[in-house]
Amino acid sequence: MMQTQEVHDVIVIGSGASGGMAAWNLTRQGVDVLMLDAGTRFSRSKFWTHVKPWEWNARVDKGDFPPQFYLDTKEQPFDTPAGQPFDLVRVWGRGGKTNVWGRVALRYSDVDFAGPAKDGWEIPWPIRYSDIKPYYDRVDQFIGVCGGTDDQDSLPGSPYMLPAASPRCGERLMQKAAKSIGVSIVAGRRAVLTQAHNGQAKCHFCGSCGRGCDVGAFFNSSDYLIEPALETGKLRVMDNAVVARVLVNDEGKANGVQYFDRVTKEEHTLRARVVIVAASCIDSTRILLNSKSHAYPNGIGNSSDVIGRYLSEQIRFHMYGFLPELIGGPTQNDDGIGGEHVYMPRFNHRGAKRDYLRGFGSQFWGSGAQADAGFAKALPGFGVDFKTAVKKRYPALVALHPYGEVLPRADNRVLVDEKHLDRYGVPVSRIEYKIGENERKMAVEMYDTAEQILRAAKAEIVPFQRGHLDVAGSAIHEHGTCRMGADPKRSALNGFCQMHEVPNVFVVDGAAFTTASEKNPTLTILALAWRATDYLAQEMKSGRA
């Protein structure tokens, strides 16, 4: 149903880190933005940040539920081939996954950006650290990132850090143990406010960030980007607008979007001069592939057939141990800023050449006293001895979670399934993804490293199954399906997240990444989206867009 209607300057699809950044940066430069969010705003006052674990069931029995952040796959299914599961986590609603994200805020370095050009696997990144560094600096200052100012080739420091969260005992001891075998574990970089910053409240160290922060003390797109953008009067947010397609005119330029109202299921179209796709990697890719037209039978901007391909997530596993210095000791409040206060940067690019490409780092969340004792399932026995064994080990738990890069491969891909339609009649995503020999070789060193650190700490190691990896998608770090590059035959976007083929479409989320790296992507998504929209604002001012 086509209507004569208002033509918006810019439509932003999605309200997470990338969409929020695009809207904030454009509106403050005077550009009118209409943001389409697939859900509604999550109310902070309804977060269960301070509901104790034993209170949950009674509340649910009374019909009192926490915010339903996570999209139910019954509402929005996706397909995977038999035997190739993919755990896709989506948050539809204002702020998207930043409401509940892990807050690890690492800068990529030239070990990442220049890596593909050096090792020759797939295409090079079109940008280097020097291109994005000014934007990392701005993001750090704007959102507030606490932690390490130390600098190494695989993990750049930042002069703009808020004070680091003090490591817990277990983390200190792990740092010490790792150092003894030549591995550095540094202060983490986390987007949590260890002091009040830019009008946002300081963290109160309750450790329940995963249920949403009731005071907004860590970066989330809704409070930090969208609210200030709304204050400019230049932003309008449309709730419950589930975008299906980007529409094009006869000249092959984008001229709007088609969306469905999530409540009424009615179809609508909107007109725009520029469309920014920021619906998160997989959902953005689905929109692009479903945007078929005479000009783009393969999906908008996809004559190269790269869109949907090169899906890269990360491999990950978990290893646990109990530190002898802490076994039987007092229980401390180890909540801190929630998650780890330290990080093990990539080191395998140094020393002997490995028999695999790319690298891995490690996180340490879940070390110290937790609000459960799941580790107890791995302890033997029953009865008083068992109960005593659990209690003694409870304060002594340390956890390692190594994350490794997955190489981009053409056959790791997202497609749209014309035979499987969602409730609006729009084809759903089909995710075909598996890891390869390179990742299996890397996992060997990842396991060796984690075990060596625990052995150096003289830890009692919880039995593990060597080689086991989490189900694909679990890291929630999807990248690469609309990658940037210099060559329009092998990439969909230029270094400013702008489509080679359709210059008034920008894709600013994880889909734009040329490679996944081993690092958590959100800080880089924010920096890339800021840079892309600076470029777009300039193009609009000069009349080129």
Partner: protein, 147 residues
């Protein structure tokens, strides 16, 4: 660890009739009512006995003091596959908890989940005092832990 007799343990579990279980709370003497959704009265008793063999009452509450049988009942009511697996395991259980036995491990896992997220298990047994408001987080203050 063996329980007294298999016969004593394996009570009639033919009909899963919801029952109201009354537990005298050991610390506060507050009676907590819970209407079972899956277990019959006999099953609830059996499960209570089993979870107390896994985590008994010591100077701190045991698993049934912390309402772990009710926790398990609720959990099973939300997951049909788990419920079937659990009840089948319970019916064919030989009465001896073993780390090599799938039902023992299922029960142990559920007991751990229930007990160590209960107020009794978390605060009285483990001494957890988190999820609160702190002005500052000190972290490790032990000089001997520094690198």
């Amino acid at each position: 660890m063996a329980v007294s007799t298999r016969r004593e343990l394996l009570l009639s579990i033919a009909a899963a009739v919801p029952v109201a279980a009354q537990h005298e709370h050991p610390d506060t003497s507050v009676a907590v009512a819970y209407t079972t959704r899956v277990f019959s009265a006999d099953e609830l008793k059996t499960v209570a006995r089993l979870v107390d063999l896994i985590i008994p009452r010591t100077d701190t509450p045991g698993a049934s003091d912390a309402h772990v049988p009710e926790f398990i009942d609720r959990k099973l009511s939300l997951d049909a596959a788990l419920k079937d697996r659990f009840l089948a395991g319970l019916r064919s259980f030989d009465g001896v908890l073993k780390d090599s036995d799938p039902f023992s491990m299922l029960l142990k896992g559920l007991t751990v989940d229930g007990y160590y997220t209960s107020k009794e298990g978390l605060t009285q047994e483990l001494g957890w005092h988190g999820n609160t408001f702190l002005a500052e987080f000190e972290g490790c203050t032990h000089p001997e832990h520094q690198s």
